[in-house]
């Protein structure tokens, strides 16, 4: 499957590329990424944009674990993003639990949904997988639309706000934009550290082996189905985490966050930045949101420009921005 491009995208080679640019970059990739994220609110046009880069970047990082590293093109990850967001919102709004419990609930619901969807989708292969994930996520979308007494239906979920993050002994004012930004950065940093550890573990090696050659991975004795499912669930939980952060940030969960167009957005961001690279998804989210920010000042039809740019990337730069930079670094 997709031997040619996947070899080009292979992280082992891209890591070698990074190592040429900065020796030891692989070991320092989490601190370097977090440092970059800490600077964002001071260099981007607005802090609102910076928060979005954090949340969508995390979403793309979670998605990249499945698409970039395991080689499974899912078109249904909006389901986990939305499920995390809805579960957090409902936990706070309806049941009045505190923010930490609400986040845990969000992750649990996203993980549960990912387990069920994963068990169904992993039975299929290749492009069937993309279609099945899309159709199953639309099932979630229509279920949320029908269960309007819980989810608010078409109007989205409203009526919950997180104004302070209370810890034992102290509390943070979550309404202050900068406090909010850095609080979310801490969560994202933890998630990045987790992803980095997972990729460096034997599990990380096995998912890349499955992407490169599933038959050979199976012949080597790895349980391909279980590994794929684990990757699917981890990826879903990370996307769910992005959803819980989005719900706490916006105090509203739009119904569209479950729609497959959102899944498409995640795919586009990941591919723009560079699937299969560690920091690429953040670059992709940043590039996408910056384009939206800039083009939407000129025209309401900014999606036309973004769509054309995406098509050009698929045709001419399938490694994405970061992946292309890395391979240049390697070439020199």
């Amino acid at each position: 499957m997709s031997v040619v491009r996947n070899v080009e995208l292979a992280p082992p080679s891209s890591r070698r590329g990074l190592a040429v640019l900065f020796p030891g970059a692989n070991r320092w990739r989490v601190p370097l990424s977090v440092l970059t994220l800490c600077i964002l609110p001071w260099v981007l046009p607005s802090q609102a944009l910076a928060v979005n880069v954090l949340i969508y970047g995390l979403l793309a990082v979670g998605y990249n674990l499945l698409f970039g590293y395991t080689g499974l093109l899912s078109f249904g990850h909006a389901a986990f993003f939305g499920a995390g967001a809805y579960a957090t919102g409902i936990a706070i709004g309806t049941f009045g639990v505190n923010w930490f419990v609400a986040m845990v609930v969000g992750l649990a619901v996203a993980g549960f949904l990912a387990t069920i969807m994963g068990m169904l989708a992993i039975r299929t292969r290749g492009i069937y997988f993309s279609m099945v994930t899309l159709a199953l996520s639309q099932l979630v979308y229509y279920t949320a639309l029908q269960a309007s007494s819980w989810t608010g239906g078409e109007n989205g979920l409203r009526g919950f706000t997180v104004s302070t993050l209370s810890f034992p002994g102290f509390s943070l004012n979550f309404l202050d934009p900068l406090v909010k930004y850095y609080a979310i950065t801490i969560v994202v940093a933890l998630a990045l550290w987790f992803v980095s550890r997972a990729l460096n573990s034997p599990f990380g090696a096995v998912i890349e082996a499955i992407r490169e050659n599933e038959t050979r991975a199976r012949a080597c004795g790895y349980n391909v189905e279980r590994t794929k499912l684990l990757s699917f669930v981890l990826s879903g939980i990370l996307c769910g985490l992005a959803g819980t952060l989005s719900a706490m940030h916006l105090s509203i969960v739009p119904l569209d966050s479950l729609h497959y167009q959102t899944s498409g957005l995640i795919v586009m961001m990941t591919l723009l930045g560079g699937a299969g690279s560690f920091f690429g998804p953040f670059i992709g989210a940043l590039a996408f949101l910056l384009m939206e920010d800039i083009f939407s000042l000129w025209t309401t039809n900014w999606q036309l420009i973004v769509g054309v740019i995406f098509i050009l990337f698929v045709l001419y730069l399938p490694k994405g921005i970061w992946g292309t930079l890395i391979s240049w670094g390697k070439g020199r």
Partner: protein, 291 residues
């Protein structure tokens, strides 16, 4: 709940199934022959409906729209194959999928610019208004007409594929492109034509659906999901599979809306999940390529 009511609902299920077959056919043909999942399918369906609207506005006749719009959009589809998809042959099977997804995005925005963001009503042609008494109840004439067109398209496709030299070459080309090239057949021309036909049929579906569904830039999003459900249940690339799956889904949706209306949109996805548990490649499917 009389027998008559159930019979009527069964029949509208079959009619809905005919529309779903029409919705899924273009996707299934392009996949079956070229091995490409066309994610712009929904958008092209919508573009077909708008093209029908435009032609009907120019000529004042639904019949011209029914003939001209699919031809025009089919030619447009050939341009897409030639300049966007052809460079991707030989690369990962994910690449055409991603590209057509981006294309769908662009087409929806382009239609918003050209025709506005609001839905446009498309009236049923005068000759096809009204209802017909079927003996078990009254049924809209237009829906019967759609069933007829779908049957005609299916018959033409079957004759074209099974009874003509061109169909023979297409089937051989989809079975083994390499051997066909060795035998001196220009396979890229073949794929160009097949892609054009697939897109044309998709556009025809759009024109036919226009009087039943509101014509809006977003009408393609549901279509894409529906087409996926039908092709996944039937088995990708199988025409017989698409027909049977379309009818099963149509009847299932129709029956559900009789007993539990709020579940009607959900049932087709649940049905797909169920079929996948039993047959991961669909009812008539072959294994996905690329693995």
């Amino acid at each position: 709940m009389t027998v008559q009511l159930i019979a009527m609902q069964l029949f509208s299920g079959l009619a809905l199934g005919a529309i779903l077959i029409m919705v899924a056919l273009g996707l299934s043909i392009i996949f079956g022959m070229l091995g490409i999942v066309n994610f712009a399918h929904g958008a092209l369906f919508m573009v077909g409906a708008y093209a029908g609207l435009y032609v009907a506005g120019l000529t004042g006749s639904f019949w011209w729209a029914l003939v001209l719009a699919p031809v025009l959009i089919g030619l447009f589809g050939m341009l897409i194959e030639r300049f966007l998809i052809r460079p991707l042959y030989g690369r990962s099977p994910d690449d055409p999928l991603l590209l057509t997804f981006g294309l769908g995005y662009v087409l929806v925005e382009a239609v918003r610019i050209l025709f506005g963001t609001d839905g446009i009503p498309f009236s049923t042609p005068a000759a096809l208004r009204g209802v017909v008494n079927l003996g078990i109840g009254f049924f809209p004439l237009y829906r019967l007409f759609v069933i007829g067109v779908v049957l005609a398209v299916l018959l033409l496709l079957w004759l074209g594929l099974e009874r003509t030299k061109f169909g023979l070459i297409v089937r051989a080309g989809s079975a083994d492109p390499l051997i066909m090239r060795v035998l001196g057949v220009d396979i890229s021309k073949l794929w160009l034509v097949v892609f054009g036909i697939g897109v044309g049929i998709t556009a025809l579906g759009g024109v036919l659906a226009a009087p039943m569904r509101n014509v809006s830039p977003e009408m393609g999003t549901l279509v894409l999901a529906e087409a996926f459900v039908v092709t996944v249940i039937g088995g990708m690339g199988s025409l017989a599979g698409a027909v049977i799956a379309g009818l099963i889904v149509g009847v299932a949706v129709s029956m559900t809306s009789l007993f539990a209306p709020e579940m009607a949109t959900i049932v087709m996805f649940a049905l797909m999940a169920l079929i996948l548990l039993v047959r991961p490649n669909g009812l008539y499917g072959r294994a996905a390529p690329g693995l």
